[in-house]
């Protein structure tokens, strides 16, 4: 699913590229694809519409840098707008500017991860930040909910409010704050029962809890897998209790997490934290850039474009692009490409940013990528004569031996390089036939020497998960 989506986007943007300048019609077509991509990522429909309208305005008539294609320019505008809509660069910290004990209220639908997140916050604030934290469960609905929080508090090494049977949630909230004051806690985290946005009685209850505790943060905890209903939930909770921050849980799943945008759009509250596992330390700050790429299924395209335009010699790239497109790509050009790749930094960093490379990347996860192959290739190529570099076909057995000796490589290595170059040329020709794909993407992707890839190649099974404890 991931790949087809980014493929679709790439397709449109490539069509734009071949057409030259951005027209209104081009943008409209791209926006249709963006709309679909966002809906597939579970961004709520009204939010998608609003977003598209704003981006369309920006895109039409936008200046397109010479070094990137119009398609990439649109992609960058979309991506930037999305990052901005998700809150802009950087994470927003919890607001703990209040007199101790500082109340933090956790609210949300059933099963969204409130109790677990309360435990995670306990660990973070009590451990790393060395605050005195008290966890209090106001959940009198779900069986064993209070026990669940008590156990999590114990694991996190923080205190939990003693359980007293028969108290109402509001009474527990009051007792928690009294205990917090009396026993000198810095922070009191109030976990509440899950409730539906349309449950008037329970929404009224949480309103009362808020009134008696006056929390510094009211965190709406939302499952990253949430669909279109995100808008209803966001609106209802925001109207009832005034959400000050959002926590997206289960970001360790493979949902695209469009609900993040819906939530942010409706409440205006920043997404402050994300849950990335069941373990108590699986709590992270929210990074809009990462989630934007995830929603669009594009990888960090803008990052790549930026990095590329920062570090690549635009003229050089252009020259290489032309040669590739004409099928006149020789070993000199290959050496030049390697230099460009080296300039851009680590290969895995580049892979991170390449659309459609997610799968390959997960294959590579944890394995060391052997970038030394690139260096060997450069050395081998530099031992060739000019005519050999231009017409690699003439390199037969005796030449191979000479080149190998000259570069301190084996004949086998020379063979591998030639084979690879041959594969690459074939691929270039295929790409030509398919209609020129963006050089930046295909050029680098195609340049990944096979020797650098760990065994197995893309398309294999899922990586091993880890049972948290």
């Amino acid at each position: 699913m991931f790949d087809s989506l980014s493929g679709r986007m790439t397709g449109v943007f490539d069509r734009l590229r071949t057409r030259g300048a951005l027209s209104e019609a081009d943008v409209a077509e791209a926006m249709r694809e963006v709309r679909l991509a966002m809906l597939d990522s579970d961004v709520a429909l009204p939010v998608v519409k609003d977003f598209i309208n704003r981006v369309r305005e920006r895109a039409i008539g936008a200046e397109v840098l010479e070094s990137i294609s119009p398609g990439q320019a649109v992609a960058k505008i979309v991506n930037d707008a999305l990052v901005e809509a998700l809150g802009g660069a950087g994470a927003v910290p919890l607001n703990l500017n209040a007199a101790a004990p500082i109340p933090i209220l956790m609210v949300g639908l059933q099963g969204s991860g409130k109790t677990t997140t309360a435990g995670k916050l306990g660990l973070r604030l009590g451990g790393r930040e060395r605050r005195r934290v008290l966890l209090a469960s106001l959940d009198t609905q779900r069986p064993a909910a209070q026990l669940q929080l008590a156990q999590l508090a114990q694991r996190a090494g923080v205190a939990s409010l003693p359980i007293v049977a028969g108290q109402t949630p509001v009474q527990i909230a009051q007792r928690a704050m009294e205990t917090g004051r009396r026993e000198g806690y810095d922070i009191v985290i109030l976990d509440t029962a899950g409730r539906l946005s349309i449950d008037e009685a329970l929404m009224e209850e949480v309103r009362q809890i808020r009134a008696v505790t006056n929390p510094a943060e009211t965190l709406l905890v939302v499952d990253a897998m949430t669909g279109q209903d995100a808008v209803n939930t966001a609106r209802a909770f925001n109207e009832a209790v005034g959400v000050t921050g959002i926590v997206m849980t289960r970001m360790d799943g493979d949902a695209r997490g469009g609900a993040a945008l819906s939530m942010r759009h409706i409440t205006g509250a920043p997404i402050k934290l994300t849950g990335s596992g069941e373990k108590l330390d699986a709590l992270e700050d929210f990074h809009p850039e990462r989630v934007a790429g995830r929603i669009l299924g594009l990888g960090d395209l803008a990052g790549l474009v930026e990095k590329a335009s920062d570090t690549l010699d635009a003229e050089e790239s252009e020259k290489l692009a032309l040669k590739m497109l004409r099928g006149k790509f020789d070993l000199d050009d290959y050496a030049a490409q390697i230099k460009q790749i080296n300039k851009m930094g680590s290969i895995s960093g580049i892979l991170d940013m390449l659309p459609g490379m997610g799968q390959m990347k997960s294959q590579l996860a944890g394995k060391d990528l052997d970038t030394s192959v690139l260096k060997r290739h450069t050395a081998i190529i530099s031992s060739m004569t000019k005519s050999e570099r231009r017409t690699p076909d003439i390199i037969k057995a005796s030449r191979k031996k000479r080149i190998a000796a000259g570069s301190g490589a084996t004949v086998q290595e020379v063979n591998r390089l030639l084979k690879q170059f041959d594969d690459m040329s074939t691929m270039m020709k295929r790409i030509n036939k398919l209609g020129a794909k963006g050089l930046m993407r295909q050029g680098l992707g195609a340049l990944m020497p096979k020797g650098m890839m760990p065994q197995g190649g893309p398309g294999g099974g899922r990586g091993p998960g880890q049972r948290p404890h």
Binding site: M1, L36, L39, D40, S41, D42, A44, L45, L109, Q110, G111, S112, G113, G119, Q141, R142, P143, A144, A145, L147, Q148, L149, Q151, L152, R155, L196, S197, I198, D223, M225, T226, G227, Q228, D229, N232, T233, R235, A236, R250, D252, G253, D254, A255, R256, G258, A259, E278, G461, R462, G463, P464, G465, Q466, R467, H469
Partner: protein, 320 residues
């Protein structure tokens, strides 16, 4: 705010008669079902989580039969929900424990927090009342207080609960429970499992292991593997079902939290893609809140009373 079908059902007649006044004008105003109107309907389906592709297909089907007709909102509502129901009808299959199996072993699986443990409690009540001797197994040996949660459910509905030591091996526990249930002549064995995301290979492998171990005792077990799905889930549900089906061969679905504002349209996409039986729906947190899945009801709830073509004034009167 959009309401789910069941919540509307609960609020009952008073609300619908109230609304009738407001809607009556719309109901009696006809509008041509043109491209603009169909687009509105398509968006309605998208907003119910059918996903853009499936919504598009449903509307295409709809277009073929009704395009250009003069219709009322009510006619659209009925026809569109019939179209959705047509997709759901084949998967509306109740779960019936096989009385010949002693016990019918059911493994309950799903991603975190969907309502597995609660649904097991509800099923135990429902089948227990029907005279089916039911035993519950606290197979979530991982999450904090998961065992206690199921034990409370067991007390509530009067079903015995078999539990192991904390962090015990879930497969071993399931095996022992199966043995005991067989020895005691139980009819139904409901095995709870820890929530797990489908993209975590090791956790999915753990589920596969539970099944392998159960088969050592009886190679026909488990007789059902039920995936519990949260109705608020969006398009990721498709991947969930795909992977769980691949890894543990799920036999059917139960959709929870339909008492909320989520419409659960993803069920339509799932019916199209996998055709797995949808056995029941959860409509609340109480033991009684489990209902059979009925295609027509579900479709009506999904299309809902929100079908209101905005431009439903007669085209002859551009003033209003």
């Amino acid at each position: 705010m959009a309401l789910g079908f069941f919540s509307r059902l609960k609020e009952g007649l008073s609300r619908s008669t109230q609304k009738l006044g407001g809607n009556i004008a719309a109901v009696f105003t006809r509008r041509r079902l043109d491209d603009a109107a169909l687009e509105e309907l398509e968006e309605l389906l998208i907003a119910a989580d059918l996903g853009p592709a499936v919504a598009g297909r449903v509307i295409d089907e709809f277009r073929r039969t009704r395009f250009g007709n003069e219709v009322t909102d009510e006619e659209v509502r009925v026809a569109l929900s019939a179209e959705v129901a047509r997709v759901l009808e084949p998967v509306a299959i109740p779960f019936v424990p096989d009385p010949a199996l002693k016990p019918h072993v059911v493994l309950v699986v799903g991603v975190n927090g969907t309502g597995k443990t609660t649904t097991i409690g509800k099923m135990a009540l429902q089948y227990g009342r029907a005279g089916v001797r039911t035993i519950l197994v606290a197979g979530d040996t991982f999450r904090a207080a998961a065992v206690e949660q199921l034990q409370i459910w067991g007390e509530r509905v009067g079903a015995p609960v078999i539990a192991g030591a904390p962090n015990a091996d879930a497969a071993g526990l399931a095996y022992q429970a199966f043995e005991r249930a067989r020895a005691e002549g139980a009819d139904l064995l409901l095995i709870d499992t820890a929530g797990r995301l489908h993209n975590k290979g090791a956790l999915m492998e753990e589920l596969a292991k539970i099944i392998r171990v159960l088969r050592k005792f009886d190679e026909t077990a488990p007789h059902s593997v039920l995936l519990v799905l949260d109705a608020t889930t969006g398009q990721n549900a498709i991947e969930q079902v795909r992977v769980f089906k691949e890894m543990v061969n799920i036999s059917g679905l139960i959709v929870t939290k339909l008492d909320g504002s989520a419409r659960g349209g993803i069920v339509v996409a799932l019916a199209e893609a996998f055709g797995l039986p949808v056995h029941a729906v959860g409509v609340g947190e109480k033991a009684e809140d489990l209902r059979p899945f009925r295609a027509a009801d579900f479709a009506r709830g999904l299309v809902g009373d929100s079908v209101r073509l905005t431009a439903s004034q007669p085209s002859a009167d551009p003033e209003t």
